[in-house]
Symmetry: none
């Protein structure tokens, strides 16, 4: 596994913002976590509300937790709410189970980290995250 | 962005109490938080029950967290309960997702803080909060 | 025991601010807790830093915890640090063991609540708290 | 008070990295928090160890908590360890009381946020933080 670099993380954030600008999304917060779930880079656009860092990184953390984009957690929350509640409690509340947390995979399929975005609708957050990941040359796994 | 002053926060509380008196509401607890979610002023009327500070400030904190009055959280809790549960867990239980948490916006739309009220019905709590905010010359964003 | 009223709590805060103004203290945060340790009233002067509510109320909470002004906790922290550390852990971090948390006693000696102040030196914080309590006609117990 | 913008926060981080490169410091993690203690921007250089985000932001958070650079907390920890321990417990462990957390002040002296850096010695971390703040046209308050 190659490790995600800061340069790549910054590229992902810039490209996510560019996609958001193109789609005229609301101000976003974008978190990039490494494969160990630790924050590599983060930027909050002006006007993005108070707890958006926690929400954005919680989507990315959740994706890494189960090895699937946070859309999978969103679906699972409908089918087996007790499982998602247990994940939340188990992690000390670090998991946010809605779309917008997308895994960063290399060409061999290895997980290099995850991107979490919050600020617009969950679907749009996810679109921006995937655009960022692909702009950096990786594969976006939405779950 | 102008910072919310103590004089303004006190005006908001007094005006909220005046509206509550006019509407013959039950004893209220009124919390005013700054834009960063930190308590600026609080008053609990005699007879307002034990945990009303936590409830009132939790409504205001929730509003600031997502940049919308806590009525939005109340609606979202019905549609996507797992998201609101995650917000609650993520914030260490600091978010109370029912009406009565109202954003304080200036004329440019910037968020200066939030008012949270608890003690009567959520709808009446919200009415008193909005009255307080408007009496201080700001715009009340109920969500 | 008579219960502390909101009017009395507000009088205490105003008188503490008056004393602070007279002594030219830095911007203060003043918390008034009832006998059960629940917040009755709070005001943060403009310029008082971010976590001053938590510090001020932690002094008052500590005073109520052991039935002595928080100066007693400060002294005890020097003599028996393990006891004060245990109080802190036991209370979930709600106790701040430095001067500035002063008990509000009625003429029979009953505890009606406590005032906690933070912003200037601990000694000056305590002086302002005692002045507030006495202005409301109560006895200040500094510990 | 002007609100800290994302552009300014990014400038601060770039300038801190430039100073670190000039001084040949170890890989750094740099967190920029807004005045309310919420993360605005963060970058972790390749090779900076696992919990550096938490350490860097804890220095900045501590500075904001008491309205002084985290060097003040470091000194106070020697003189009144029980106070700093209480701050740590009270904040849920969010405060790291060593140098490297520096307040961002505007020309009127208002606090716009704080920068926290971790990775090299505390003194060098602080030097890089101050360089970043000054490069963005603000005043660095080391405490």
């Amino acid at each position: 596994m190659t490790e995600l670099t800061l340069a790549q993380a910054n590229t992902i954030i810039e490209a996510a913002f560019a996609k958001a600008s193109e789609l005229k999304l609301k101000p976003l917060s974008v978190a990039v976590l490494d494969a160990g779930g630790h924050l590599k880079a983060f930027q909050k656009q002006d006007g993005s509300s108070m707890l958006r860092f926690e929400i954005a990184s919680g989507k990315a953390y959740g994706a890494l937790a189960v090895g699937a984009g946070s859309r999978w957690l969103n679906t699972t929350a409908g089918e087996r709410p007790h499982f998602v509640q247990a994940l939340s409690a188990m992690s000390g509340g670090k998991i946010v189970p809605v779309p917008g947390g997308v895994l960063i995979r290399d060409e061999a399929g290895a997980i290099l980290g995850a991107v979490g975005i919050s600020g617009d609708t969950s679907d749009n957050d996810e679109t921006a995250a995937a655009a960022g990941i692909e702009a950096a040359g990786f594969t976006a796994d939405k779950g």
